[in-house]
């Protein structure tokens, strides 16, 4: 592949949305209220919409006759490069919203930079996604506040979720080889530059939600290199089921 770095770079963006969209999609019909159900399904829909645009772009760059679905569903576990954060399970609604919030803050600031990409397709996708992701962030922020500053029970559950997921936040700002190459070409976003503002923003909202900012400095990483938590394999088993059980067919 001529443009291996660009291809890998796109997967690094798209896989996050794919895996998070899949996580949210499995909640449809089981939410705490009809309104949250509709909202989570909607976020999932947005993410899958973005995913399709990214993989279609990646498929063109790869130029090896693979389709968006081949890229989405026919890789091995080690070839998925999403961050560990998004593959964490839907433990409860607090975890679901904390995961969403911790990702959304990053996602929005990332897209705002990606808009400036020299790759016009990426910049167009970013441009279109910003509106959607701003809404995701508003939704998850509201729930951080409601649960953090709601009842004693919800406060405790939200604190637990934030504490549990905190260890996966640092990885958002790690640079891969593809990142470095794409930053050099003016195509990619330098994620290291997003880190400070991220923790400031997250900290301010947690504070407003009467939650404590975790102090732990121990962070997990590996997703960007394809070394995942045990959760991802099961998620992929469902995601890939039809493509694996009925190979080479059209749906």
């Amino acid at each position: 592949m001529k443009n291996k770095n660009l291809y890998n770079y796109i997967l690094g963006i798209a896989d996050n949305s794919l895996i998070l969209g899949q996580r949210l999609g499995s909640l449809t019909g089981h939410g705490p209220s009809l309104e949250t159900d509709i909202a989570c399904t909607n976020i999932s829909l947005d993410l899958f919409g973005q995913v399709r645009s990214y993989y279609q772009h990646a498929a063109k760059i790869a130029g090896d006759n693979r389709s968006e679905d081949d890229i989405a569903m026919l890789r091995k576990e080690r070839e998925y490069v999403n961050v560990l954060l998004v593959e964490q399970p839907n433990t409860d609604f607090a975890y679901t919203m904390a995961r969403q919030f911790l990702f959304d803050v990053y996602h929005l600031s990332f897209l705002q930079e990606l808009q400036k990409s020299k790759d016009l397709t990426l910049s167009a996708i970013a441009n279109k996604s910003i509106k959607e992701v701003s809404y995701h962030l508003r939704f998850s922020t509201d729930w951080i506040k409601r649960l953090g500053d709601g009842t004693a029970v919800s406060h405790q559950k939200m604190q637990e979720a934030i504490d549990g997921l905190w260890t996966y936040t640092d990885e958002l700002f790690h640079q891969t080889e593809a990142d470095k190459a794409m930053v050099a070409e003016g195509i990619g976003v330098d994620v290291t530059l997003l880190k400070e503002a991220y923790y400031e923003k997250v900290g301010a909202i947690l504070e407003e939600a009467t939650l404590e900012i975790p102090e732990s400095k121990w962070f997990q990483k590996g997703g960007k290199k394809g070394i995942h938590t045990e959760h991802l394999g099961y998620l992929l088993a469902e995601l890939q089921y039809m493509q694996r059980a009925y190979p080479n067919m059209e749906w």
Partner: protein, 318 residues
């Protein structure tokens, strides 16, 4: 109010409906009208919500991204239908919580079709094509029903249901024109969903209660058997067109009636499922009740937070 006055009001009320006027929430209405509408509309709302489960079951396993997006959107539509039907119910002075309570306790019914399992991807095609298809046949006449909020909700719902129906049929076309294995999936799904879909149009007229009153109020405009015949006549050619076989050995075009004759429906199975003993009744209720109970702390928190926010605002105002 004297008995005579009430009689008078009732007569005026029936006359309005006969003139095709819409009844609105603030209008006077007989208690029986109100109760019947709460029952039918909430049953419809519950069906939308429970109906999310069999299709939600395939979201994580949809075979392509395009199909996944379409399925997510469809299930989201059903949630939306539930939402505006519950709202329409609330105009009659009943809360959504009360209605949920009736669903969870088993007092309220929902469409029995959702008590069948979705066990293959082709079921997403069959459900859209047949179940949404039968729902449309049931619901299109309701776009002209007498209660305004219900009629307006139905206009919107029917538009989306016909989109779902086409989408489901399109899944079936793709499978039927695909590999032998895919065609087999499609035929198997049709075999399993055909009879339950016919049952969806309700018990045969001889066994159906409340029909006469419902006809007067335009809650029902055609008999169950007529609707069923309409569904069959519409669907059989669609199956033939894509080379699938309706699983009914007695199905035959009747030249004289210009309609299909069809075989005996297994009403014992219908009543078994209606009475709560279908393949998935327990699981569906468990999922609904579970979501509600597990969500309680979340709803409590949202209320507590809103309350705190209000108090803070009031303090600021002082």
């Amino acid at each position: 109010m004297s008995e005579e006055q009430i009689k008078n009001l009732e007569a005026q009320f029936e006359a309005r409906i006969a003139r095709d006027e819409k009844i609105e929430p603030k209008d006077w209405m007989p208690e029986k009208y109100r109760k019947t509408h709460i029952r039918q509309m909430s049953q419809h709302a519950h069906s939308e919500i429970v109906g999310m489960l069999p299709e939600g079951n395939w979201i994580t396993r949809a075979p392509s991204l395009r199909r996944k997006v379409a399925l997510l959107a469809k299930v989201q539509d059903e949630a939306g239908h539930g939402l505006y039907l519950y709202s329409a119910c609330e105009t009659l002075g009943v809360s959504r919580e009360e209605l949920y309570e009736q669903l969870h306790s088993g007092k309220a019914k929902y469409s029995s079709i959702f008590n069948y399992p979705t066990i293959s991807w082709a079921d997403m095609g069959a459900v859209g094509w047949l179940v949404d298809g039968a729902a449309i046949i049931n619901q299109v006449p309701l776009c002209n029903t007498s209660y305004g909020p219900y009629a307006r909700a139905m206009i919107r719902v029917c538009k989306e249901e016909s989109f779902h129906q086409r989408q489901g049929y399109e899944i079936m076309i793709k499978l039927a024109n695909g590999t032998p294995e895919q065609k087999e999936l499609a035929q198997d799904a049709l075999n399993r969903w055909w009879w339950p879909s016919l049952m969806m149009l309700g018990p045969t007229d001889a066994e159906s209660i409340h029909t006469e009153q419902s006809m007067k109020w335009k809650l029902k405009r055609k008999s169950n058997d007529d609707l069923r015949q309409q569904f069959i006549d519409q669907t059989v050619p669609q199956a033939e067109l894509i080379g699938l076989t309706i699983p009914d050995a007695d199905l035959k075009w009747n030249e004289e009636r210009q309609s299909y004759d069809f075989g005996e429906i297994n009403w014992d199975e219908f009543w078994q499922v209606v009475k709560g003993h279908g393949p998935m009744n327990k699981e569906r209720m468990k999922a609904r009740v579970g979501a509600w109970e597990e969500g309680e702390w979340v709803r409590d928190a949202a209320m507590a937070y809103a309350e705190k926010k209000r108090n803070r605002k009031e303090k600021l105002a002082i």
